[in-house]
């Protein structure tokens, strides 16, 4: 059956590069968090809250947009494994927090994208949505990748 073999084929594909599917998720989540950091920094520069980056302008905006797109792409394989294979689980506090926060991630992402395109909303709406999204990613990383790197192994 097509669906029955998806998990096995996915595992085979992932393990051609990584030691396990968990390792793949840990590293993709780390990349997404790093790019989210770029998002926060470039957004802070666009809003004039930091001055150590190059001057505001098209380049910063371009870096902001592309770091966001790449961060989104990095979350997709993690989403596939976590949501469609593992599902919502609550065996302990770490996994429960990870499941609950993970459920909200794409909802906040969609809200943020819609807020970007809606000029009629108050000025605080976009930074609030962006910081919420980055915070959710941080919590997800702390409850998965950091746990994996410190408890299981630090490697690919």
């Amino acid at each position: 059956m097509l669906i029955a073999g998806v998990a096995e084929r996915y595992t085979d594909l992932v393990t051609t590069v990584f030691s396990s599917t968990i390792a793949m998720k840990a590293w993709f989540a780390t990349a997404a968090l790093a790019l989210a950091g770029v998002q926060v920094l470039t957004a802070a520069r666009i809003y004039g809250r930091v001055n150590f980056l190059p001057e505001r302008g098209p380049a910063i905006a371009r870096v902001h947009r592309w770091s966001g797109r790449l961060a989104f792409v990095c979350t997709l394989p993690v989403f596939f494994h976590c949501v469609t294979i593992l599902g919502f689980q609550t065996p302990d506090a770490r996994v429960a927090i990870h499941s609950i926060v993970g459920t909200f991630l794409y909802g906040v992402f969609v809200a943020k994208v819609l807020i970007v395109r809606d000029r009629s909303l108050p000025n605080w709406a976009l930074p609030t949505a962006g910081l919420t999204l980055a915070s959710l990613l941080l919590v997800l990383w702390l409850t998965s990748s950091l746990w994996y790197f410190t408890t299981v192994r630090f490697g690919f």
Partner: protein, 115 residues
């Protein structure tokens, strides 16, 4: 209802959709996959165990965050199922393929009650 609610409503709909998808686990194996056809090497499995399992189960399988494996009398099918499906807080798929066969052979060797 003002336009300001649109992002919240759309985001809420996505949250509900993701939760439903997570509950469905559409690509989760419906039953434990067949036991590996390759024979595991307990010697290589010890290395795999030290890299992937010892953090929770202890260097000698004596237990720690995870349960004790040494002397626990586990069978290969039980170990294989735990590795493939996960168990409790242990995530599924920490190792796969030949590494899985090797680590299963090692765990079975140390879980023998005579150890």
């Amino acid at each position: 209802m003002g336009r300001g609610w649109r992002p919240i409503l759309a985001g809420g709909a996505v949250v509900v959709g993701v939760f439903a998808l997570a509950q469905a686990q559409v690509f989760a194996p419906s039953e434990p996959a067949a036991a590996p056809t390759t024979t595991g090497d307990a010697g290589r499995g010890e290395t795999v165990f030290q890299e992937n399992c010892a953090g929770c189960h202890g260097d000698s399988g004596q237990g720690g965050v995870g349960p004790q494996l040494a002397g626990s009398g586990l069978h290969a099918a039980e170990v294989t199922s735990a590795v493939q499906q996960g168990r409790g807080v242990m995530p599924a798929g920490l190792v796969s393929g030949q590494e899985q066969a090797d680590v299963v052979a090692y765990v079975v060797s140390i879980s023998s009650p005579s150890q």
